[in-house]
Amino acid sequence: MSLLATLPVVIPMVAGILALLAVSRPRLQQAIGIAGAAALLAVSLVLMVAVSDGSVLVAAMGDWIPPIGIALVVDPLSAAMIAIAAATGLAAAVYALADPRAARTRAWPGLPPLLMFLLCGVCGAFVTGDLFNLYVWFEVMLISSFALLAQGGGKERLAGALRYVGLNLVSTVMMLASVGMLYGLTGTLNLADLHNAAIAADRPGALAAVAMLLLIAFGIKAAVFPLFFWLPAAYPTLPIPVAAVFAGLLTKVGVYAMLRVFPLVLGPEALGDTHILLQESLIWIAALTMLTGVLGAAAQSDMRRILSWHIISQIGYMIMGLALWTTLGVVGAVFYLLHHIIVKANLFLVAGVAERMTGSGELAKTGGLYKQAPWLGVLFLIPALSLAGVPPLSGFWAKYLLVRAGLEIGEYVLVAVALVVGLLTLYSMTKIWLEAFWKPAPETVSVRPLSRRESLAMLGPITVFALMTVVIGLAAEPVFIYAERAGLLLVEPAPYVETVLGAPR
């Protein structure tokens, strides 16, 4: 059983190395990329089935029994996150086939190896059960994303990369310092063991300081208010398949780390009275992140920029679920996380198609897409309306859960903010719809149809993601039950802790 838990890290790593070796043959490289992502997806589905009853898989590395060695732990949340990461990676790898230049230019080392190493880092962060190991996986993820960001090296992209690199380096250093302080206080790094040790340490004040450091470290990664400035500077400059992966996955790894570490290690039992400080900060961060993100988006006139700002506002919703600190709230956050990655990646992919057809992402220079390609309009509307939370799409259920969780404990202001932001999201999506799809094309712009190759490679992933959005919306119950099990394990981690510490020896 334990071998299965290592595969989410091993598969992308091996695929990445193979793709590096095939660097002189771009087509083979692309095939390896697609095969690697598909294999990862298959493994993650097996993992999801294995843990869907709320059980936990543990793999002790090198047979060092936890809490001594590093344990890889797969619970429902991490299994689902791996599945969605793999799906996003697969979509990006297929989508990249549409760019004939990618196969010809010799940009070293090409997209597939970096994509695989990025997935390796992301999946490693999802499966690790050790705080220092989490830091290491963050670094693997970061260095791959740095390389993806700087590749090609246009002027604007370099300036964006500088901001991204700078803030993310500060974030990892802060995480490292907080790991050191936590080790000094508790004498362990295993997350399950930390749960007990943090309570036993009985140092709420010192732990609160660690919690705040971690909040800033993860907050920079998740791009929450006021630490989000690197995101709108960097993301819009990326090539579309990379932008989709970044938009869907990277900030969500920060949210995942918060969901994993805060309830498990720095919960009310460990922090005592100071816990209210952490919770209050999270509530303010959630509200302000939602608002600034959506207002920033309203001021933009470029598709990529609008979508980038919306990433920020959507992060606010997930933080809101954690900030409520109730079971329903965390379940809502998990549901939101799962639905959001699909929707956001898909919106970037659709924006890429729109750009390809009209030659620009600037809304004023686009138009007439609905006349030329009505199906693309439908494929845009599904994720766009889901993002805004229109029933019966997936986003509606995610928002419904969070709003209900907020009302249950009387956080009316936060709920009101969430609802207003949903409305403003609809405004931004309507703006894209009216400008790019509905209005006639400007005279200077000629809308060109997609070639056969482009249609297959670009519209395939978009259609699958759109279908997933509809299916999650119409059959929300199984997804909710799964999210409930995942969320329960986060809020009441006793089974998680017991399984990890009692791993077979």
Partner: protein, 122 residues
């Protein structure tokens, strides 16, 4: 000893913040260096520091004789130094590329150039 380490970490962090907020990209790189070393010192202090006592268990005993430094944080620091070094190399190359493409290493001037070009920045 811990007090000196705390002071050193604090001093390094203060210097790092000053350098990170400077306009020059070269200062920024040095800021990153100082900051990561401050974090390493924090890790180092977390494992207790003792003078001249190896982290070994004497013959015939099952635990160390008296307090000795924990070796694990020191191993963590080694890992962090290696990772930090790799990232630093990347940052140096990135800063060099930015300087060449924008023909300046001043972050404000890059911002101004970006604004005066086309509408690059929100």
């Amino acid at each position: 000893m811990e007090a000196w380490l705390a002071l050193a970490a604090g001093g390094l962090t203060a210097g790092a913040v000053y350098l990170l907020l400077a306009r020059s990209l070269v200062h920024f790189v040095f800021g990153i260096v100082l900051l990561s070393n401050a974090a390493n010192l924090v890790l180092f202090a977390a494992g207790r520091t003792t003078w001249g006592l190896p982290a070994l268990i004497p013959d015939g005993m099952s635990e160390p004789d008296g307090p000795i430094a924990n070796a694990l944080p020191q191993a963590l620091i080694l890992t962090a130094i290696v990772i930090g070094f790799g990232l630093l190399c990347f940052v140096l190359v990135l800063v060099d590329r930015v300087r060449r493409r924008w023909e300046t290493a001043d972050i404000d001037q890059i911002h101004e150039k970006a604004l005066s070009g086309k509408d690059l920045e929100p």
